[in-house]
């Protein structure tokens, strides 16, 4: 009879354990995440730190608030349908899981019945031979249940993991095709969270909710059916408390949902309060506002404690009350059932089975609130994921392929207008030509729109008006991949990937051999410093290359660009101070790189400008002057002033 107790007992505690377990697993992960970050890049920039810190709990306040909003809509069938399409491929696994589940539920259901029979027919009857037989039956059942359970969990989690893998892959692939402007608008930390934690959340939905809900239902229905078949009136007695249980469950479900949500929001608030106060600690200290800031921090803490205590009270009421009702049900059974046994209308064994069945009825009810929470969280996560999947990819309606042997490399900007946002024109009616093989230097004060030109040529952003032509073909008509393949880009801020140095030159292009890498590195004078590194070309790039000087990084970027041997080269010179020796290497490399290659260079060095075939002076988005160095100087116009301002000192420094 104590089985009743056991079940309820295990359920209440185990459940809270499981809930915490799930919580912890994700938390632990995030914790480890932060710790591994610690190892990977102590010197990361402040901006990145911000991202990291927000990512720690993947609890963006906005995300939590969005969840809140979504919860008002409760369950969204549109989202569910879409989530199920991902599961469709694995229907077979789900089918097997469901079958196994039926089997293991059947085993669960039959055991109390057999117990009753054993007590009635064998133990009380003193039939020890049959008791032995029943013992063996039980053993078989046990092993069968073990196998069914094991297989079911495994099959289900295999399907779940596969689905998550697919969603993640799909999401990441889609994100590769999103326009650059999307990445400008969304903090990296948040995008990473979508690919990692949000997809992980879905896993719970597929494995914990989808099938187990079915199991709960089968278990409930099966128990009721068996009970009715055993004894109708006793079943009615046993179910007498059920209406109260149902009402309580509905009432608590609403309350628990609210309470749980408040906890999440309060935790998100603490997170953002800590992150904000740490970032602003200097200001706080500078103005001696420690006490005030402490009080405010304390408030968020108090709020959190209040929310948590609310949770404790709600769960603390719900579970014991349900458990109490199950004991009431037991008391009723003993009373009515006992009377019937006394009257001889019922055997003791059946009564015993009933007591065990009661516990089975209460088991799923305890889980319900939890399942609902998982469902909610995964709905919110899927909404965020689908939002990304629904963002249109970069446009690519090109029809023309570029060919190695026919490509000459003439570039023309024709009345180009461009703005990152709306009418904030960065380029206004810019027109210029770069004949094949020539080098054009673009100069101008900061904010003149120079860098945009690089972005536009390879269509990282789309222009609003005018056209850009390569060999007389509008770049919109060229396949984007072709376009980018034939344009080599060297950015001012050289991004290095973790991994070997040589892999930073060839990127993922397996076709570029180690010899080729060595050859291009030698050609652009990067060979010298690479060989001096511990490990040479095999050296691991540490902390995103922060151990390399900016000059060395620039040389690496040259090598990278050259390795792909582009017909057109676009480069943004580094502005930062570079030691004289490296500077000479860079100038020499640049000279070799641009020879016989159509080149657009955003120039910051006098030597680069002097070597250019043509100079274009941009100012406030317009082309102001153009010509070669001598011509422009002779004009005594804006170029002359700019020369005096920016390059003259340069010259004196390097002489």
């Amino acid at each position: 009879m104590g089985k009743n107790n056991r079940h309820v007992n295990i359920n209440t505690e185990q459940e809270s354990k499981e809930r915490q377990g799930v919580d912890n697993r994700s938390k632990e992960r995030q914790g480890v995440d932060s710790r591994s970050n610690e190892n990977q890049g102590k010197e990361q920039q402040g901006k990145r730190q911000q991202n990291d810190s927000q990512e720690i709990n993947s609890l963006y306040e906005s995300d939590v608030l969005q969840e809140e909003e979504l919860e008002l809509k409760a369950y969204d069938s549109r989202l569910m349908k879409r989530l199920l399409t991902f599961a469709a491929r694995y229907w077979f696994f789900f089918l097997i899981a469901v079958l196994l589940l039926f089997a293991s539920t059947a085993v669960d259901l039959i055991r109390p019945y057999l117990m009753g029979i054993t007590i009635d027919d064998y133990i009380k009857a003193g039939d020890s031979a049959s008791l032995n037989r029943m013992g063996i039956y039980f053993l078989i059942l046990l092993v069968a249940g073990f196998l069914f359970n094991l297989l079911q969990i495994y099959v289900l989690s295999y399907a779940g993991q596969s689905i998550i893998y697919n969603i993640r892959q799909k999401l990441f692939s889609h994100m590769q095709k999103l326009p650059l402007s999307y990445f400008d608008k969304n903090p990296i930390g948040r995008l990473v969270t979508r690919v990692t934690n949000d997809t992980e959340t879905l896993n719970d939905m597929y494995t914990n909710v989808l099938v187990t809900l079915l199991k709960d239902f089968v278990l409930l229905a099966g128990t009721v059916v068996i009970m009715f078949r055993l004894n109708v009136s006793l079943t009615l007695v046993a179910l007498a408390v059920m209406p109260i249980v149902v009402i309580l469950t509905i009432f608590f479900r609403v309350k628990i949902r609210k309470v749980y949500r408040n906890v999440r929001i309060a935790l998100a608030r603490i997170n953002s309060a800590i992150s904000e106060n740490i970032s602003g600690m200097r200001v706080i200290q500078m103005f001696s506002r420690e006490n005030q800031s402490f009080d405010r921090f304390n408030e968020t803490g108090e709020e959190y404690k209040k929310a948590v205590m609310n949770e404790v009270v709600t769960f603390g009421l719900f579970r014991p009350v349900i458990e109490m009702l199950s004991s009431f049900s037991l008391a009723l059974l003993i009373w009515f059932g006992g009377v019937k046994v006394l009257d001889g209308a019922l055997t003791f064994g059946i009564l015993y089975s009933f007591i065990n069945y009661i516990s089975m009825l209460f088991q799923p009810i305890n889980d319900l609130a939890e399942k609902y929470n998982i469902l909610q969280a995964s709905m919110a996560a899927s909404e965020r994921i689908f939002m990304i999947l629904d963002t249109p990819e970069e446009e690519d309606d090109g029809t023309v392929h570029l060919e190695d042997d026919t490509l000459k490399g003439d570039i023309e900007f024709k009345n180009v207008w461009f703005a990152y946002n709306n009418e904030d024109w960065v380029l206004r009616d810019v027109s210029f030509k770069v004949p094949a093989g020539q080098t054009v230097a673009i100069v101008g004060a900061t904010g003149a729109g120079k860098t945009s030109i690089i972005n536009l040529l390879s269509r990282l952003y789309e222009i609003q008006n005018g056209e850009i032509l390569i060999d007389g073909i509008n770049i919109r008509d060229i396949y984007k991949d072709d376009l980018r393949r034939y344009i080599g880009v060297v950015l001012q801020d050289v991004f290095l990937f973790s991994g070997k140095l040589k892999d930073n030159i060839r990127l993922n292009e397996e076709g570029i051999s180690d010899e080729q890498i060595k050859a291009v590195a030698e050609y652009v004078n990067a060979d010298g410093f690479i060989n001096n590194l511990h490990g040479g070309y095999e050296a691991e790039v540490m902390e995103r290359g922060s151990t390399l000087s900016s000059g060395q990084r620039q040389l690496l970027a040259f090598a990278r660009a050259l390795a792909f041997n582009p017909a057109i080269l676009v480069l943004d010179e580094a502005t930062s101070n570079i030691d004289t020796e490296t500077e000479l290497l860079i100038q020499d490399a640049l000279h070799k790189l641009t020879k016989n290659r159509t080149t657009i260079v955003i120039a910051h060095r006098l030597s680069t400008i002097q070597h250019a075939d043509n100079i274009i002076l941009l100012h406030k988005g317009k082309v102001r002057e153009s010509g070669n160095h001598q011509e422009l100087l002779a004009k005594k116009g804006m170029y002359h002033s700019l020369y005096l301002l920016q390059y003259q000192k340069d010259e004196s420094n390097h002489k």
Partner: protein, 616 residues
């Protein structure tokens, strides 16, 4: 040193709640142990034929009453113990935060925000788990098995008990075994996940390169590889889990079969009554959960102690900058002239309220604003090269000093020393003739209005960001915003001064943010005004008009201004040029122009830049 050094008093503070909670918990356990006995008795009297309807009703009522008792005590112990652990969490987190507030800027430069956040949330949570759930389950896991075992021995003798208990030993071993393998699996799983995260992060950070070199497809393949590893690591984990749970079920059910079988035989032989048989089964049921939970309980405490250790490490960090004990300005942490006993009491009441982190020190004096750097050199801790070398300047009260120089020459470091955001070497920096280390921090910082280079706004109303919780009147706040040329902008906002700024509210432009910081600094007429390149994001016209007002303000107080713009510095009483941590030029605008050095070339370049800027 004890691992509990920063938490012991908090635990002791809640000792009565713990004691009460444990008593309630024991009540639940005892009532749970009574239940099987009652069922057994009912069964025996039923079998013995001594059971009457009245007695049956009595049993039912007793069961119902016990159920009510269990529910009540269960609620009470949860409330008491979880409540205690949450109160400890709150106080501990507050203590942690208060400690962070005392650390110098240098600490935050070398420690990542993300890690500190992880400590304040994840680690804190682990400690809370240990002080709450950990305690509950530890007691459960200890009490219930022992009591149940004793009851089983009494009810059915040692033979049956031993037979049924044997698989449970196996269960404990199995669970511990799984936990052990799980550890390495979880580590691998976490590694895979963090690898996945890192790959995605790196890709998104370098998306420009990826796109420019048409590496999308290759990157997708690269991601596929880590995605796959992650999936496999997860599967390994789930494989274990799918083994573990059914195994636990199998082994615990084995006990029941033995009870049924061997117990049944004993009943048949007559050495056990049916009622004892039923009761025995119930006791067995009580045993399963605590034994299964053993490994998990150990895990909670282990994690809690690791987290506590991590937090302790930060708490051990001694604040680099704090008020000196023997100060000319009589002020210590808990106010002047208060007895130790009084302080003791205050601390205690504050622990209770969870607000002990407040610093109290009344300003007892006023700073006039004479600043003297006396042959000051400064080196950041852990670095070999000094950032500032032999700086000697005196700024008389009410005068203005301007600092120019290239980036990275130590200008901001110099400025940060004045409010002691960095630790100042003794005797090198004097305010009103007193070593800065001898001036109470609150007095010092309260007398300085500083506009830092990078402005920081809190997600709060714009009014609160200017007032910054100093309780100035609305008039004063408005006036300050007028000086900063911000008033008109604010009036255009939907909520005016009550408009929320930051991520959850209105986004301000860089120039607007800088002007909020200026308004914040000028508010309350500080004796010393420090402007660290604070107009860089403001357009030339606004800059001019702000400077006009600021200059009037600066006439009345000691001011230090760092700027790249000649227009901002030319009226200063003294201008110094810093290079590589040293003063290379000093004088007034006119004298420096005549000198023909860095300042002169800066001036010329500025004129050219203005010329270019004006061209349109």
């Amino acid at each position: 040193m004890s691992a509990f050094r920063y938490i012991r008093d908090l635990l002791l503070w809640h000792k009565y709640r713990y004691v009460l909670g444990v008593i309630f918990l024991l009540c639940v356990d005892i009532l749970q142990l009574v239940m099987p006995k009652i069922l057994g008795n009912a069964t025996d009297s039923l079998e013995g034929g001594t059971l009457t309807r009245a007695k049956l009703a009595e049993f039912a009522v007793i069961i119902a009453l016990i159920a009510i008792g269990i529910a009540t005590f269960r609620f009470l112990f949860r409330y008491a113990l979880y409540g205690a652990s949450r109160s400890i969490e709150l106080s501990f987190r507050n203590r942690f935060y208060a400690h962070l507030q005392r650390l110098s800027s240098n600490y935050f430069n070398t420690h990542k925000t993300g890690d500190l956040m992880a400590h304040a949330t994840n680690d804190m949570n682990n400690v809370t788990m240990a002080t709450g759930q950990g305690v509950i389950f530890a007691i459960d896991c200890l009490m219930i098995p022992i009591a149940a075992l004793i009851m089983m021995l009494i009810t059915a003798g040692w033979r049956l008990t031993a037979a049924c208990f044997a698989p449970l030993l196996l269960l404990a071993i199995t669970v511990l075994f799984f936990m052990k393998i799980m550890e390495s699996t979880v580590t691998k799983q976490q590694e895979a996940f963090s690898n996945l995260t890192e790959t995605a992060r790196e890709n998104f950070s370098g998306i420009r390169v990826v796109k420019s070199f048409v590496q999308e497809q290759k990157e997708i393949e690269k991601f596929r590889a880590v995605n796959k590893i992650n999936k496999e690591a997860n599967l390994r984990f789930t494989r274990l889990m799918s083994m573990m749970f059914p195994s636990v079920m199998l082994i615990s059910s084995l006990s029941f079969i033995i009870a049924l079988w061997y117990g049944g035989i004993m009943v048949i032989e007559g050495s056990l009554t049916l009622g004892d048989f039923v009761a025995f089964n119930s006791y067995l049921g009580l045993l399963i959960w605590p034994i299964t939970a053993l490994g998990w309980v150990a895990n909670i405490f282990q994690r809690g102690s690791v987290s506590l250790e991590r937090i302790n490490k930060i708490m051990d960090e001694r604040p680099e900058i704090s008020d000196r004990k023997s100060s000319n300005y009589q002020a210590d942490e808990f106010g002047p002239n208060k007895s130790a006993a009084y302080n003791e009491k205050r601390i205690e009441s504050k622990i209770g309220a969870g607000i002990e982190g407040r610093i109290e020190s009344p300003a007892t004096s006023k700073i006039l604003g004479r600043i003297e750097f006396r042959n000051l050199s400064f080196t950041y801790p852990g670095s070999a090269n000094p950032v500032l070398k032999n700086i000697s300047i005196t700024v008389e009260s009410g005068k203005t000093l301007a600092i120019v120089g290239r980036t990275g020459t130590g200008k901001t470091t110099l400025i940060n020393l004045i409010p002691r955001l960095l630790s100042v070497p003794a005797g090198t920096l004097l305010i009103d003739g007193t070593d800065i280390n001898d001036i109470p921090l609150s007095l010092l910082r309260g007398s300085i209005g500083c506009v830092p280079q990078d402005t920081f706004l809190f997600s709060d109303t714009i009014g609160n960001n200017i007032d910054f919780y100093r309780d100035f009147s609305m008039d004063e706040v408005e006036n300050a915003s007028r000086i900063a040329r911000l008033y008109d902008n604010i009036m255009e906002f939907p909520g005016q001064f009550d408009t929320i700024v930051g991520e959850r509210g209105v986004t301000l432009s860089g120039g607007q943010k800088q002007r909020v910081a200026i308004a914040r600094a000028v508010l309350g007429s500080p004796s010393i005004l420090i402007l660290d390149d604070c107009l860089s994001a403001v357009d030339a016209k606004t800059e001019e008009s702000i400077l006009g007002d600021l200059k009037k303000l600066m006439k009345q107080r000691t001011s230090i201004i760092v700027s790249h713009r000649i227009s901002a510095v030319k009226d200063a009483d003294e201008i110094i040029v810093l290079d590589d941590g040293q003063i290379i030029e000093r004088g007034t605008h006119t004298s420096l122009l005549e000198l023909g050095g860095y300042y002169h070339s800066l001036h010329t370049r500025q004129l050219l830049a203005d010329e270019i800027e004006r061209a349109d």
